[in-house]
Amino acid sequence: MSDAPSTSTTRSAIAAENPILQVKGLVKHFAVRSSKGLRVVQRTVQAVSDVSFEVARGRTLGVVGESGSGKTTVGRCILRLIEPTAGSVVFDGKELVGMPVKQLRGLRRDMQIVFQDPYASLDPRRTVQDAITEPFEIQKIRVDARAKAAELLELVGLAPDHARRFPHEFSGGQRQRIGIARALALNPKMIVLDEPVSALDVSIQAGVINLLQDLQSELGLSYLFIAHDLSVVRHISDLVAVMYLGKIMEIGPAEQLYTAPLHPYTQSLLSAIPEPDPVTERTRERILLQGDVPSPINPPSGCRFRTRCPIAKDICAEEEPALVDRGLGHPVACHFADVFPVKVLAPRPSSTAL
């Protein structure tokens, strides 16, 4: 089915052999108009700036980041739902950037997407059967819609007789399962999952995550899993990429990245996320970042994280750190990743002692 990724901590843990997806130097700029007094000026949002990664066959790459980090844009550029400004996206050996749309449509059989909002991503006037067999219509494949719908619904843990119902008759979790059934219809090799469980309550979310994992092992699917919830990403991913302001700050095997984060941003992000354990919450060290994420219209020079970084030096403003393996196990884009080990800051005094 798939090549098992090397468990060693060398570069090979990041670069897979015969990957299903290779993204190189992906750039996406959006033109925006903003007014300066009475003048209207054209400006550029640098949503994604020079992002490269690979997804191994049958594996999951998790992409995490805060709003504005560019993680959703990356997912959409890969499918060419929006056109990348520059860069290369090689899917299963074929370059997608610049491919004629007609040819692209055929390839989309192998590459599907599940969206965040299960309420907005289903047409309220079409039955579930219509929704999940629409991919066959688009691809002009003749199938027995009823049998196919029943089969797909069963695959995602719904009853075959749900096919005649309409989306409003389903809960959020069930709708997301319908969205997954639709993505699975054409038997894809890879699915981009864009915040697939963020809109769901935790008790429902767990069922959808289990389903995604089961489908992956049954069907050998590869996933690009985009989310802001780090604990969910850790649970489902083999590799994790951390994005900030359109760039990957750190990419590595999930366990390594979570237990020994190298980039100050990853460290801050992990320490900012509240864990559902009051004892851990009271005792662990915490880095409280100041301020907000800067605007991607005018990102900071050098390292994009430097304006909020607790260990930034002069060089960080002048020279952009490359995303390379600095002999620390996996690639990280920080000048000081090897100088400053994990836990760069003194523990914050506990203020919530009972």
């Binding site: 805060e66 709003s67 809960s171 979790g173 069930q174 309550d201 935790v202 008790s203 429902i204 979310q205 767990a206 069922g207 995550i209 289990n210 994992q213 802001h228 780090l230 604990s231 969910v232 850790r234 649970h235 979570y258 801050s268 992000l269 320490s271 900012a272 996320i273 509240p274 864990e275 559902p276 354990d277 009051p278 004892v279 851990t280 919450e281 915490r286 409280l288 970042l289 100041q290 907000d292 994420v293 909020r308 203020s351 919530t352 009972l354």
Partner: protein, 329 residues
């Protein structure tokens, strides 16, 4: 609970009349909140956690029927005259919401909006109120508060707007602050900053804080006590440590088991979906989804909270000692 009880709910009920009949959103909630503590009210969507407090504040549409009792240091809010509600709202009980942008007026400067809030409840000259507004912006951690006071809401980021909302909420030294999902719309690094501000208010001003959230991590970080809501009632209540380490109610346990853990074990979802509150099931509302449910769970009045182990729980089987109490998860 150590301090004096400031906010007290007793058999609090909210129902909405609809074409199909009454929707019983809140079905008898009891809760005491003391000065200087943060009580986390957790539950999934539709559990009634927000509606309870919106109802208490008189912020629901007329179709809402509110019964039971909600008192702030002895002042009854249920059925109170609009004039009394106006004196309580923003003065004795303040509330902040998930979306700070829709709670701020886009055409007025931030400072003036806080001044308006102060002068609605206190007789204070405008310039003194402005000084107080700037001081409040400083308290909630807004840099250069005197300049920022002269700016408009659109010039503030999401996190800064939520800080402004907190500044407005504490402008009149309220006894109770109700924070309804205050960090849900914010990024995690900004969420951490806002939680820090709330903790500082609790510590320095001794305000009683009700934190409504669906995020168990947020509760674990800042709450002293926790009330878990399900289908418009309290399922379980206890100190934050006891709720996380020794949860008794099968729903609370189910919530904990459905969270991803560090060990990467397979998650255990809760089967089924919450009940339709138009026609909630008899007995325990969680029974249809509960693996421990037996016949007695499905009849009679919904169970009330009673002490089982370290927590109060609304599970009849736990109360009859029929559930193995799992401790130290």
């Amino acid at each position: 609970m150590s301090g004096e009880v400031v906010l007290s709910l007793r058999d609090f009920r909210v129902s909405f009349s609809t074409l199909l009949g009454p929707v019983q959103a809140v079905r008898g909630v009891d809760l005491d909140v003391a000065a200087g503590e943060i009580v986390g009210v957790v539950g999934e969507s539709g559990s009634g956690k927000s509606v309870t407090f919106l109802g208490m504040m008189g912020l629901l549409p007329k179709s809402a029927k509110i019964e039971g009792s909600a008192t702030v240091r002895g002042t009854e809010l249920v059925g109170a005259k609009p004039k009394l509600m106006r004196q309580v709202r923003g003065k004795r009980v303040a509330m902040i919401f998930q979306d700070p942008l829709s709670a701020l007026n886009p055409t007025h400067k931030i400072g003036n909006q806080i001044v308006e809030m102060i002068r609605a409840h206190q007789s204070m000259p405008k310039d003194a109120a402005m000084r107080r507004a700037i001081e409040l912006l400083d308290v909630v951690g807004i840099p250069q508060p005197d300049q920022r006071a002269r700016q408009y809401p659109h010039e503030f980021s999401g996190g800064m707007r939520q800080r402004v909302m907190i500044a407005m909420a504490i402008a009149n030294d309220p006894e109770v602050l109700i924070a309804d999902e205050p960090t849900t719309a914010l990024d995690v690094t900004v969420q951490a900053q806002i939680l820090e501000v709330l903790q500082r208010i609790q510590r320095d001003l001794g305000t009683a804080i009700v934190l409504i959230t669906h995020d168990l991590g947020v509760v674990a970080r800042v709450a002293d006590r926790v009330q878990v809501m399900y289908a418009g009632r309290a399922a379980e209540r206890g100190t934050v440590d006891d709720i996380f380490a020794h949860s008794v109610h099968p729903y609370t346990r189910g919530l904990m088991a459905s969270l991803p853990s560090v060990s990467g074990e397979r998650l255990i979802p809760i089967p089924g979906a919450p009940p339709n509150m138009l026609n909630p099931p008899p007995g325990c509302a969680f029974a249809p989804r509960c693996i421990h449910a037996v016949d007695k769970c499905r009849t009679g009045a919904p169970p009330s909270l009673a002490q089982v182990g370290s927590n109060e729980t609304a599970c009849v089987r736990a109360q009859d000692n029929e559930l193995e109490v799992i401790t130290g998860v």
